[in-house]
Symmetry: C2
Subunit: 199 residues, 2 copies
Amino acid sequence: MTEPAGRARRSTGQRILSDAASLFRRHGYEATTTREISEALGIKKATLYHHVSSKEDLLYRICLAALHDVEVNAKAAVEQAEARPRERIRAMIHGHTVAMLAEVDFSHTMLTDMRSLSGDRLNEVVQLRDSYQNWTESLVREAQESGDLREDVPAPHLTLALFNLLNWTMFWYRADGDLAPSQVSELLTTMFLDGASHR
Amino acid sequence: MTEPAGRARRSTGQRILSDAASLFRRHGYEATTTREISEALGIKKATLYHHVSSKEDLLYRICLAALHDVEVNAKAAVEQAEARPRERIRAMIHGHTVAMLAEVDFSHTMLTDMRSLSGDRLNEVVQLRDSYQNWTESLVREAQESGDLREDVPAPHLTLALFNLLNWTMFWYRADGDLAPSQVSELLTTMFLDGASHR
DNA sequence: GTCTATAAATCGATAGAC
DNA sequence: GTCTATCGATTTATAGAC
């Protein structure tokens, strides 16, 4: 361990992704230049190309990291949850939300700038996203079959509504706002399961 | 009337906005060039500048049109609805959703590329959006006071959840998909009011 | 791993004729 | 309203020294 006192220092590779994701979130992938990224890192533009092969490769890695983080966290939360399907849904929403909000720059970039990828990189990221959504849909279907969720709305539609609730949160969440991540998770869970009606 | 047989031909100004919005939706504002826009219109790049003062001006007008359409439609629907607050919420969701999906290119561009505006243009668009969201929040609060909506979640939070449901729909809606706009509206209304739990 | 220097292409926007 | 021609700035990316 050669890192300075106490906590591990993030590798250069990690810092490049974080700084780029921060810029991408603020100005968008297309509007951000490689010069801005390297300036934020305190290196010259040419040096950046020693670490990544292209600007698009940078976006690609950010998308992979964002999807990986959320998926791993959501699945771990579900594994640890009680067996009842309703509780597994709660755990999924909590794990997803907390992971997503812990890396807002990554998730925001993935959700809004994924379309700037092309070819194989785009295909891979889209497939990862779809497979995670399919896993979520199976969770929803399982909860319908157990009687925890309503069956008059098809599982794919319930799942679309769930991702509506989860994904748009990126656009208004503020780390310094009045809602902590677990409060956001609680809000989304309440709304997905019970809705806004008085009862 | 000098338009060709039957229906009115859209003005050049309208066609420029539609074609640009279509490209912006597909590739993003920043990634779309003025050359691509003029080619889609069948005119030369320089001619485009006879109709709009800049590329950003084009985005600005698209955002204004998108916000105007949805707001006018939602408010008209609420005016015509029954007096009961719960029915006014239903009407808002329906009017909003149908207008939004009728002009997907405009709404999608407004929601994702608004951040590329700057200065006064950005301020004006943000203010229009905020004032519409405030109007919606007052609708929610009214429904809480009448006992139609739950009061254990603050009105601003219920409103955030509502816009989560409304806004992310842009990203998966397909005009040729299995859900017609009014079915989407029905899904979102059910989810907002009643949630996914079995009862 | 970091630098200076530069290539090669493309961008938004304008000038000015018709 | 539409065109041809072009300007000036900026972009991603590479070459090659240290």
